[in-house]
Structures are given as C-alpha cells and as structure tokens.
Symmetry: C2
Subunit: 352 residues, 2 copies
Amino acid sequence: MNIFAEEKKYKTLKNDLILRAAKGEQVERTPVWLMRQAGRILPEYRAVRAKLSGFKELVETPELAGEVTLQPVDILGVDAAIIFSDILVIPEAMGLPYEMIKGKGPWFENRIRSEADFKKVHKADVGSDLKYVTDAISLTKKELNGRVPLIGFAGAPWTIFAYMIEGSGSKTFSEARKMLYTNPKLSHQLLQLITDSTIEYLKAQIVAGADMIQLFDSWAGILPSNQYKEFSLNYINQICDAINEVPKTVFAKGAWFALQDMVDLNCNTIGLDWNMSPEKGRELFGDKKTLQGNLDPCLLYADEETIVTETKNMLNRFGSQRHIANLGHGVYPDTDPEKVKVFIKTVKEHQY
Amino acid sequence: MNIFAEEKKYKTLKNDLILRAAKGEQVERTPVWLMRQAGRILPEYRAVRAKLSGFKELVETPELAGEVTLQPVDILGVDAAIIFSDILVIPEAMGLPYEMIKGKGPWFENRIRSEADFKKVHKADVGSDLKYVTDAISLTKKELNGRVPLIGFAGAPWTIFAYMIEGSGSKTFSEARKMLYTNPKLSHQLLQLITDSTIEYLKAQIVAGADMIQLFDSWAGILPSNQYKEFSLNYINQICDAINEVPKTVFAKGAWFALQDMVDLNCNTIGLDWNMSPEKGRELFGDKKTLQGNLDPCLLYADEETIVTETKNMLNRFGSQRHIANLGHGVYPDTDPEKVKVFIKTVKEHQY
C-alpha cells in the first residue's frame, strides 16, 4: 500500500488515536483497549456463544465472529476492535487440527515429535483455509464503518511451535523445550514454516482491513534468554520486517530478560506485562517505541476507588504520549464488565 | 543451638561443602544437588512408588520417605539430601486436606474464599499432625550417618496461600490474586497463620535433624512487585528472622522484579531460576548472599557434550565461591538419570 492510500484509509477513521499513538504521533488523550475484550467477559458474548456447539464454531463463522468483535466497541467504548479469533488457527491450517476442551484448554490429537511428524504439516494455505478469518475481518470492518481501528493478530512463532510440539497447554512446555535442545535443526525448520504461514496470514488480514496487527508471544517467559533470541526473536524479526503496511505491536509475556534485545525490533509498539515497570520500559525504549499495558488484570476485581487510583497511577507512570492503555494480560473471564468500564472511563478522562 | 553445639554438629558431617558454601566460607569445590532429586526421576524411586496407593502414602510413611530421600545420595552422588515431602502438608495440617491427582496435580476439596472458610482452618499442630515429616527426617539423618547434610523445606506463605484459595494448580491463580485485592485484611490473616505454622514446622525439622532449610516460593512470579513485597516478602522475612539455627535458602521462582528487595533478607542463599543471569545476581547480591542455581532443567534433555559445555559455562559465570550448583527449577520427571550424572560429574570435576 502506498503512502497516499494509507493516508486516505486513516482519514476515513473517526477515531485513529491508537494508530497515532503507535506511530509516535501526538495524541490528545491516551487510547485504551483490552486484550481478550472480544469474547470472555460480556453477557452479550455469552448469549451468542450459548447458541453454538463450541468455541470453534464461533471462530469459524464470520458473521458471529464479527458480531462479538463489535460488542466491546458498542458496550465498553474501547478505542479499537480486535478480531475475535484464536492464535491456534495457524497450526490447524498447517495440518494440525485442535479442539478447545472446556476447563482444559486447547488439545491437539496429532503433535510434532519427529521429522516424520514434521513432514505431515505444510505451509498454511491462507486464501482457502483461513478465509473465515479474513471474511470476518472484512465484515467487521464494514460494520465498524470507521468508528475505531480494527486490530488483527497472530501468535508469535515460538508460542505456536510450543503448542504444535506439546499438543496442549502445559505448565513447563518441557516437550517443546526439549525439541529445541534435541533437534535444533527441525525446530528451526518448523519455526520457519510457521513464520512463512504467519506472514502470509497477517498480510491477508491487512488486505481484508486490519488497521494494525499484534503478535502474541504468550510463552516467551519460559525460555532462557539465549534461546529466546535464537528461537523466538529471530522469527518475530522476520515477521516485523515483512509487514510494513500497518503499525505492529509485539507482546512477549514474561520476557523481561529480552526487552533489551527488543529495542531494535522493527515494530512500533511493545506490550508490557504487569510485572514490568513503565519507568524501566521508558528508560529502555526511549523514543523508539510506543508502550502498551500494563495494569494487573486482577486489579479489576478490586473496588471502584482502587481501580481509579491504580489506573491513574499507571497512566502517570507512562505519561501522556506514546502509550496505549491496556491490561498487562488478557482480561480474565470472570471480570465484571462494569469494572472494565471504570477502567476505560478513567483512562479517557484522565488529566496528566 | 549455641555455637559450640553447631560446630560439633558440623564436625560429624563428612561432607559439609553445601553448608560452608551457604555461609560464605571457602570451599575446595562447588557443591551440587537438584531440586526434586528425591522422587521423580530415579527408576528406584518409581519401584518404591509403584507398590503404594499413591503419592501421599509415600509422603506420610517415614521409612519410605526416608528411603527415597537417600536414593539420590547413593545413586547420583549429590552433596546434599532433601527430605522427600510436599509443600502442601502445611495446608493439610491447617485443616485443608489435599489429594494429588494423576496428570492434574494437587486438588483441595475445601478452599478458602470467605471469612467463614477462614474460621475453619487453624494453626498447624506440628507435633502431632506433621510428625510423619519429622520422623522421616530423624530416620533419614540416622541413615545418612553424616555422609552429606539433609535439607528441610517448606513452601513460602504466598505460594501456600495461593493453593489454599485456588484449591488447585492454575495458570493465573486469579482467585488467589483476587483475594489480595478484595480482602487484603483476610489475606494478611491467612498469610500470618501460614507463617506461624511454617516457622514452627521448620523449627521442628531442624530439631529432627535438618542441617539447612529452603523456602520455595513457586508462584512468586505472578504477583506485581508491590504486592510481592506486601504479601510475600514480608512473611518470608518473618520466617528468616525466626530461624537462626541453620543456613536458609529462599527460592522465589520468577521473581526477577523482587531480587533487589531480597538483598537484605535475613537468609544465606538466594535461588536463581534459569531466566536470571548469574552476573546480574552477583552484581546485585555481592558478598551478602550465596547464589544457587541455575541451569535450564531442559538442558538435561540435550546430548552429553552440550550438557558438559553449558554446565561449565554456568559454573564459570558464577565463579568458584559462594555458589551452590543446581538447576533453575525442579528436575523434570522424564529426565534421564544418566544425564543428571553427567551434570553432577561436570560440577565435581570442574577447574575454574
């Protein structure tokens, strides 16, 4: 997309705060959204979900995915929508279908533990196998009608790799981590295949209408720092270099030890989790990056007064520019939407 | 215990390397042991375990707990034994019995979610309800016959609290963390009760023969730093101040953000996990603490040559004094004992 087309596209947005903040442009107030805002907390979401066979039906039905994507914009008043989907659509499109088991999380019947297993997966055919996501984005984009930007996303290659090897969630992901030590060559081959699939997938999301994208490295925090560089940051780097159409956010949860290495990533925004310090983030990233985060999601269990005080405290620590207000992790499922509204209202009305 | 008695006790040990390293005294080589070495990896352990109804029978039968405690000393040649037990014996002794469910981990039928629930628990009666642990320690101590020191342990109060509220393992421990925000007063009351029970428990372990003790704060890493100080370090501090008979180790997994606050803890040794840097540890703790750790447990899945190289690398990074070699987490259950032997041999033979 050329600069003129990009400019035109931005001009059609009635609220482009988050895009300007990401690009380091001046904003009149701090933009705010929540990770996992689409899905999980709203009764309106649960009403849609209750009519369906399961989580995947919702992910795979563009009209419904679009509907729940819009709910937080209408109901909570966030400054961005994020497409309702799951990072595990990529392994599925590569040949490893998953199930979402209630109370247990993701489950893969097949997993990759050998070169023979690796031969059974392939680069995702985004145009056919992930059309339900790009369709959901197109529909949502139309429905949004420029009210706020739409965020597309994908898992970072290491996190996707971890699920493809492990085959489920895990406290230690020791099978995935074992592969890095026992077969680094195969590990790199699989990571490259995930990366190639992800680049194509994100580009398709942008063509369909995503105004910015975020990479989620949910299991960043379990790698030693040298392995994190080799098996995760290298691939995040490739993705960031390949995507230049829209602003990019990298959120590597728990990777406090890798922040220094992320200073020169070709992305606009770095997500901080609730353990990381806004001041240290500023010190490290200076003017090079916008920071996103990082209120403790459990703070939304507190009373209103505490939420207001702590939100204002966080805002002051980040300062009025180059900050996108968010939690330091996805909003937890049992959070009261009224408390979320208090958080959002506090951000919107805050005077620095 | 007065200094003379302490000296005498040490003199009966044929190998007191770990105690001297903990106290900052000169050692001729770096001592080595593994967290979770008793239980988990040895076929000899599995043979004992296979004859029993379950994990708890092993924990609660002093002769058998003693037997598996000694196995790694005999088979692996570690420089310390650690009593085979579980941190969850404390909540059980306080009135919340647990089960260990295969493939799932710990499970509590009752949990603490209200002041009414809190009224149902009580300070542990260590002399009666935890006699099986102190009996196991006495038996093991006799059987060890001074070959190596015996380590006693307990969970740090925050980690025990997390299980008592949550009632099981959890990825987020959001119920436990919710309690900190919604009822800080009740949280402090419960943490104090756990602390009082733990102090009495550790003192009984020392009387029974434990030569040093370790506090495991397994869920340290999920708290924001201000809450970690208030709800965890405060209580660890109380325990450290109350125990002066033997050297003390504090291992707060994932609490990289709290290391600075741990410099003045009244303990001898700080455990580092595999994400933490030996150099930064030295810089922070200087001469004030011995450091323990911190090889990535997954490194033991690699080939021998890699294990040797990386172990030597770690040893050189820590240096020859004030270091207790260990993994950065408990050894994983599917680790090959032969690989563990390579790690131990490398430490024992290393020339700095």
